[in-house]
């Protein structure tokens, strides 16, 4: 999930009877499946939670360009390079759709950037892992974008109109991302023994972080109940994780790769795969800033922002000059 652990600031769910008239009308609209739009009345906690969730999601798209950008200049062929460029450009686009959606909630883009750069705002834990080989680009598309799709499709139906509409665009584009990743893995698996070993190594390193992308276990996910009442989250972390595992295991079997989980087996009675417990200590540690690449990722973002400052100022100065010239001509 691109938005993990979104704080709602709410300790306990309130029933309709406990709500004031405005909040009750709001909740009844959400329950009836009517979209909330920017100018509609909304509880302050809903607005703030959405800002956290959408901006976290947007930051994930933007920071997510870094691990993949690492391989653009070293892609093995021109075809792969063109595909990877298009994919990374899509991620930038997804970030921009989402920042725009968040801005409808009265937060400025600069404020969101400032929160990312100061470490106040989070982004998905997955992007704090390094991309060591070309196979990592395959594993990211296949597993990370695969996880993202499972998480994002339900958000197309979430209660906040601008967020839902941004997700529709994103989901349409995301399937290319997953397929190009699987295609990289497939080619490596059909290649030399060394190439197949490289694919297996990438899978070994990316499997558990991908599983953890869906967020903590349901019982440890303290903000889910409120987010579900507001319909900005539609399925629980464990439900989405299970779905991801169930659909990915046969794909790994097709590739002839082994998933690095000895407890993974088909459960005939439940018609789902049983799986082992991820290392949650690692998850919390990465989320709290201590993953292998957290500092490097933030440093790269801050550097890009600061070094772009003169460009932003120059563009504004140019626009002002042009506007003044035009006004003078009219006068």
């Amino acid at each position: 999930m691109y938005a993990q652990l979104v704080e709602t600031g709410v300790k306990r769910l309130r029933s309709l009877e406990e709500m004031g008239p405005e909040e009750r009308a709001f909740q009844e609209r959400v329950d009836a499946g009517i979209r909330i739009e920017p100018k509609d009345w909304m509880p302050e906690a809903y607005r703030k939670t959405l800002i956290r969730q959408i901006s976290q999601h947007a930051h994930s798209e933007i920071v997510g360009m870094l691990p993949e950008g690492n391989w653009i200049t070293r892609a093995p062929t021109l075809k792969r390079k063109a595909i990877l460029l298009a994919k990374v450009q899509d991620e930038a686009g997804h970030g921009l759709y989402l920042y725009s959606a968040a801005e409808t909630l009265n937060v400025s883009r600069d404020q969101m950037f400032a929160d990312l750069h100061s470490g106040k705002a989070k982004y998905s834990s997955i992007f704090n892992y390094p991309t060591l080989t070309w196979a990592d680009i395959g594993a990211i598309g296949w597993l990370v974008d695969g996880s993202a799709i499972i998480n994002q499709i339900p958000i197309c139906r979430c209660s906040y109109g601008p967020y839902a509409r941004a997700m529709v665009r994103i989901c349409k584009e995301e399937s290319f991302h997953q397929r190009q990743g699987f295609d990289i893995m497939r080619e490596l698996c059909r290649g030399t023994a060394a190439q197949k070993a490289m694919a297996q190594d990438a899978l070994n390193r990316w499997w558990w972080p991908s599983i953890m992308m869906h967020g903590p276990r349901d019982e440890a996910s303290t903000n889910s109940a409120q987010s579900m009442q507001w319909k900005i989250k539609l399925f629980s972390n464990d439900e989405l994780r299970q779905k991801f595992i169930d659909q990915t295991v046969p794909q790994a079997e097709y590739l002839g790769l082994t998933l690095p989980d000895p407890k993974l087996r088909w459960n005939e009675a439940l018609e789902h795969y049983d799986y082992g417990e991820p290392d949650w200590e690692e998850f919390w540690s990465v989320l709290n800033g201590n993953g292998p690449c957290n500092r490097e990722r933030l440093r790269a973002r801050v550097k890009a922002y600061e070094e772009g400052e003169w460009v932003r100022e120059a563009a504004l100065a140019h626009a002002a000059k042009q506007a003044a010239r035009k006004a003078a001509k009219v006068a």
């Binding site: 100018k39 450009q89 686009g93 759709y97 883009r109 600069d110 509409r165 584009e173 563009a315 506007a323």
Partner: protein, 95 residues
């Protein structure tokens, strides 16, 4: 942090199928020319359209959701504006 943000622009695209321009989202740009370039990169990476409009968000006047009933209710009680309101005898054709 930047003292001034680039202004916000709303982006409209006309698809290839001859329909009217449709709102697709927004973006920041210093001026109209840049908004046009950015809109092409952000919103038309997959043949989404054949024509783009960019409009400064601050130039749009929107109806208020609070006045929704006042604005749109009058249309609801004029059922005679719809063709289905009228009874057409079965033997009468092409009407």
């Amino acid at each position: 942090m930047n003292k001034t943000e680039w202004p916000l622009w709303e982006i409209f695209i006309r698809s290839q199928h001859g329909l009217a321009h449709k709102h697709v989202g927004s973006l920041h740009a210093a001026d109209a020319e840049m908004a046009m370039h950015n809109a092409r990169d952000v919103y038309t990476r997959r043949n989404e359209g054949v024509s783009l409009w960019v409009v400064r968000s601050s130039d749009i006047t929107a109806s208020s959701p609070g006045e929704k009933d006042l604005m749109f209710e009058p249309a609801n009680n004029k059922v005679y504006r719809h063709p289905t309101f009228y009874e057409v005898p079965e033997e009468v054709k092409h009407i």
